[in-house]
């Protein structure tokens, strides 16, 4: 199937009702792995963060990471789930070289958290409730690197390299209930859900949840059913859709592809599909001819978990304000629209603005700097706002200098330049670069006199009543003072000296 065979999105929706299921894996940010004491630092030398347990050596046994369990419970609570009074780990058995024991320690029919929901806000402010089926704990696999084949795939590779540093890193898998009633907004809802879930995970502080680092990975299941039909259609499972934009595109593509197959009288094959960033399409992966049999059974090497109710309540009481509620509160406080808040969220600026306001800036200027100048700089540098070498306190200081008239916007941008270049804090940069608004009447007056003397023709026009011509004189003053003059005051002085009214 090529992209040109797709049915248009509008036609697909006219005939069919999409149903989605989203499975998100979150890599927890614990210091050690889920079942052993190995470090979880990213980017370490391959296989340097391994031990008999995470290498699956004969005789080694797992021990549960208590922080991992706590994180799972907190995620469950934040998603309004019930927390199991008693649950077990289970072994999911299948062979793959990057899985050291050839079974994954996971949870099966006894997840630690189940039956919850997450409210997500769409671009227009509408709130859509996504049901949560379960959240369970498991361990990550190692990483295979296939050498010699095309595009790093196993097909055609001469050999593969295995790095087990990632093996055993704790994962929480969060599975939605079937998402129905989304209609044409299905792609937008899928994206908003993953984005909101990411916010929740970050607010809990259990993971940085950076999709580009694989800390949050999404599988997208889509099926179509004719309007009015109760029964779900056959679903496809698109694996490893790893950006918000890709989630949206994958859902959209699969809706169009399914519709094309169904319109042709074909049947959807239940299969795994790969998503392609470059053109937004999916291609068939592994066909599940027979349902894979993982031979789940309770993990006999671990004892059951029975989270004490008092402890669960303690964790519930300690949950932070959840992102959706927090954004509603901030929107009120900052006096902005849902759309403006969405822009701040998309830019990853909400926390930075909050911190800048806490450091003394007013919300409007804090938002202006982060979403304007600094967003542009981050974009140019190809990095995130948080990665810029400037702190909210420094931005607040710049805003304060502007508010008290010591800097104008142009000078303020130069101060930010200096801070980003590592020249120190805003005051250091002002000091070192000599960036102060020239409002000293003597110095400014002299500059005005010089500008008038140097431009007699312009001065004459102003005297003759063409007030607009004064701009050229202001420009000359600014040039002479290297932009440090208070332009408004310079204009007043020019008009005053030339006897013109403003």
């Amino acid at each position: 199937m090529t992209v040109t065979d797709l049915v248009s999105y509008e036609d697909a929706l006219a005939s069919y009702d999409p149903v989605m299921g989203l499975e998100v894996h979150v890599e927890l940010g614990t210091a050690t792995k889920m079942f052993c004491g190995c470090a979880t630092t990213l980017g370490a030398e391959p296989n340097s963060q391994t031990c008999p347990v995470c290498l699956g050596l004969p005789g080694a046994l797992p021990v549960v990471n208590a922080t991992g369990v706590e994180s799972a419970v907190r995620i469950g609570l934040a998603l309004h789930c019930d927390i199991a009074e008693w649950c077990r780990f289970a072994r999911k058995n299948y062979f793959y070289p990057d899985m050291p024991k050839n079974f994954q320690t996971s949870q099966y029919d006894e997840p630690i958290a189940f039956d919850g929901h997450l409210d997500v806000q769409l671009e227009d402010g509408e709130v859509f409730r996504v049901g949560i089926e379960r959240a369970h704990m498991e361990e990550d696999t190692g990483k295979s690197t296939h050498i010699g084949g095309a595009t790093g795939r196993i097909h055609g590779a001469s050999h593969s390299l295995l790095d087990y540093n990632r093996a055993g890193i704790p994962l929480i898998e969060i599975v939605t209930k079937p998402i129905t009633g989304a209609g044409a907004r299905a792609p937008e809802i899928a994206r908003a859900y993953v984005a909101e879930l990411r916010e929740v995970i970050r607010a809990l502080g259990v993971s940085e949840a950076r999709m580009e680092m694989g800390q949050l990975r999404c599988d997208v299941n889509v099926s179509l059913r004719p309007h009015g039909r109760e029964k779900f259609g056959t679903r496809s499972e698109t694996k490893n859709v790893n950006s918000l934009r890709s989630v949206e595109r994958a859902v959209r593509f699969e809706i169009q592809r399914h519709a094309a197959v169904l319109d042709d009288g074909g049947v959807i094959v239940q299969e795994t599909r790969h998503f392609h960033e470059e053109n937004g399409s999916t291609t068939s992966g592994r066909v599940k001819e027979e349902a894979e049999d993982y031979r789940y059974f309770p993990e006999p090497d671990l004892v059951p978990l029975a989270p004490a109710r008092a402890w669960v309540e303690e964790l519930r009481a300690g949950l932070p304000e959840l992102p959706l509620a927090r954004r509603a509160r901030l929107r009120e406080e900052w006096g902005i629209s849902a759309h403006e808040m969405q822009s701040a969220l998309n830019a990853g600026a909400v926390d930075l603005v909050v911190a800048t306001v806490e450091a003394g800036a007013d919300a409007t200027s804090a938002r202006k700097w982060w979403l304007g100048e600094l967003a542009r700089r981050a974009n140019e540098a190809g990095t995130d706002l948080t990665a810029l070498p400037i702190t909210p306190a420094q931005v607040a200081r710049v805003a304060a200098l502007v508010a008290e008239g010591a800097l104008n916007d142009k000078l303020a941008r130069q101060v930010i330049d200096g801070v980003l270049a590592g020249e120190g804090g805003p005051d250091d940069v002002v000091e070192k670069r000599g960036l102060r608004v020239v409002s000293d009447e003597g110095a400014l007056g002299a500059a005005v006199d010089e500008a008038i003397a140097a431009n007699p023709a312009v001065a004459e026009k102003v005297r003759g009543g063409k007030v607009a011509a004064a701009g050229a004189l202001v420009g000359a003053v600014m040039k002479a003072t290297r932009g440090q003059a208070d332009a408004g005051r310079a204009r007043e002085l020019i008009l005053e000296r030339l006897g013109a009214d403003a």
Binding site: P58, G59, A60, P62, F95, N102, F103, L162, R295, P300
Partner: protein, 497 residues
């Protein structure tokens, strides 16, 4: 044979402690004995001469420096080849781990070393502890020192045979369905399966995680108790290890008594398939206990009839998963890696070549029992039986303090007799398996020779979980009474090698 090899562990430890013999001399005497007889017995898969002598020297040095030594310091030991030993081969009786040098010590290995116990080497066993005769070892069978043409029991036949042939005064075994007790029974030695979770499983290569339990093997009840105390106790590396004080087993072994004790005899541990001489010696043991002041209570545990069937679903299911890691990727054997084959093919060829027929049989059995559509009927039902067995024990221990039975229905059978009849082989563990299913503790100790073949018969004593001390209290009393009757330890009746 050096007189040193005839001594008990307690006697040897006392001599090392008082300086009348050095740990090095002790180790050397046992290494010499191994050189003299193990070609015939084949108890050891690997003898670590240098390692043993180095450990012995360290004990002597610590003694010379005036350090206080542990109660078994300087005593040699034979370690079942299922425990990892850093830098020393650990094969689990399988070709698939041939040549593997573990990078770490099992917790049991570590505790033995810390106690100054000298590890002579690694003993033969049925591959991955699956068997009751040690014939399933990929490295050839072990002979029973009472009759080298007969099996020494299994899976821990090597450990039991090393004791019975005076190659070591102490040994470590593991018991999933009887692999410590049944070899002890057929070799005339003492073997204890501690309460599940009593001894750490960390570094003990897993066969069936919910049933496996390491434990002590010795020639006397007191020696077993001394060793039990060294290896038992909570281990943070094993989540299933019991976090509670170790029962006072040594004290119990030193003060054997059964007066006033209620001893249960279970009706289901009898019937077809039991050798007449075994039942005769068992009945005599019951009378002996009665004579020592015990009250005998007859009991019924109806679910025990289904225990064997449940065991042969649970153990294979867990093993099918536990043994999945042997895939030629990270350690051990690798077959067919000629650059043309995929990882999957190499894994498949390696497992074909590396596992023996019994291991393959159980992996297939377990894979089937766990597969979707069959899980409830097989694994699920087996777990229910397991619960019933535990309840039967619970009810029984409401009435009695310990239960006794024959350890195994027959004496040692000839090598080769049951290799083609797995069901006959599995029956050897009829009386031992229910204990593993319930997680209780049990001991086997000698109760005489069967009149028809002159081979040792074992008496099994079963106690509730974490009441392992009762085994030693009763065992010590029975041992003392029999030795008084026989005038010597039973092993002295074994033929010279």
């Amino acid at each position: 044979m050096s007189e040193l090899t005839r001594l008990t562990a307690a006697e040897l430890a006392a001599r090392v402690a008082d300086g009348s013999v050095s740990a090095v001399e002790t180790a050397q005497a046992h290494l010499d004995r191994i050189d003299a007889v193990d070609e015939k017995v084949h108890a050891f898969l690997h003898v670590d001469r240098e390692g043993a002598l180095a450990q012995a020297r360290a004990v002597d040095e610590r003694r010379a420096a005036g350090e206080k030594l542990g109660p078994l310091a300087g005593v040699p030991l034979a370690l079942k080849d299922i425990f990892t030993t850093e830098g020393v081969p650990t094969t689990v009786g399988s070709k698939i781990l041939e040549g593997w040098l573990p990078p770490y010590d099992a917790t049991v290995t570590r505790r033995l070393k810390d106690a100054g116990i000298v590890i002579l080497g690694k003993t033969n066993m049925d591959e991955f502890a699956m068997g009751s005769s040690t014939e399933n070892s990929a490295y050839g069978p072990t002979g029973n020192p009472w009759d080298l043409t007969r099996i020494p029991g299994g899976s821990g036949g090597g450990s039991a045979a090393s004791l019975a042939s005076y190659q070591a005064p102490l040994a470590i075994g593991t018991d999933t369905g009887g692999s410590i007790r049944q070899p002890a029974a057929v070799t005339g030695t003492v073997g204890v399966k501690p309460t599940y979770g009593g001894v750490s499983r960390y570094g003990m290569v897993a066969f069936s995680s919910s049933l496996d339990q390491g434990g002590p093997c010795a020639r006397t009840v007191l020696d077993a108790a001394l060793l039990h105390e060294v290896i038992a106790g909570h281990d943070p590396l094993d989540s299933t290890s019991v976090d509670a004080p170790v029962p006072a087993v040594v004290e119990a072994a030193r003060s054997g008594s059964v007066a006033g004790l209620r001893v249960g005899v279970v009706r289901e541990f009898r019937g077809d398939g039991f050798q007449a001489g075994v039942l005769q010696r068992f009945d005599e043991s019951v009378e002996l206990l009665r004579g020592l002041g015990a009250e005998i209570v007859e009991l019924s545990c109806p679910s025990f009839d289904k225990a064997l069937a449940a065991y042969y679903l649970i153990a294979p299911s867990e093993c099918s998963s536990n043994l999945a890691r042997f895939d030629a990727m990270r350690y051990g054997l690798r077959v067919g890696d000629d650059g043309s084959r995929s990882a999957e093919e190499v894994t498949s060829l390696t497992r074909q070549a590396g596992f023996g027929p019994e291991v393959k049989r159980r992996i297939m059995l377990g894979t089937y029992a766990l597969s979707s559509g069959y899980y409830d009927a097989y694994y699920g039902s087996a777990q229910k039986v397991r619960t019933l067995v535990a309840r039967d024990f619970e009810a029984a221990f409401g009435q009695v303090d310990v239960i006794v039975s024959p350890t195994t229905p027959t004496t040692a059978f000839p090598i080769g007799e049951r290799v083609d009849d797995p069901m006959a082989m599995y029956l050897a563990d009829l009386c031992t398996i229910p204990v593993n299913l319930a997680g209780n503790s049990a001991m086997s100790l000698p109760c005489g020779l069967a009149p028809e073949d002159g081979l040792p018969v074992g008496l099994q004593i079963i106690a509730p979980a974490m009441a392992d001390d009762r085994l030693y209290r009763v065992g010590a009393a029975v041992e003392a009474a029999y030795q008084a009757r026989w005038g010597h330890p039973i092993l002295e009746e074994a033929p010279a090698l």
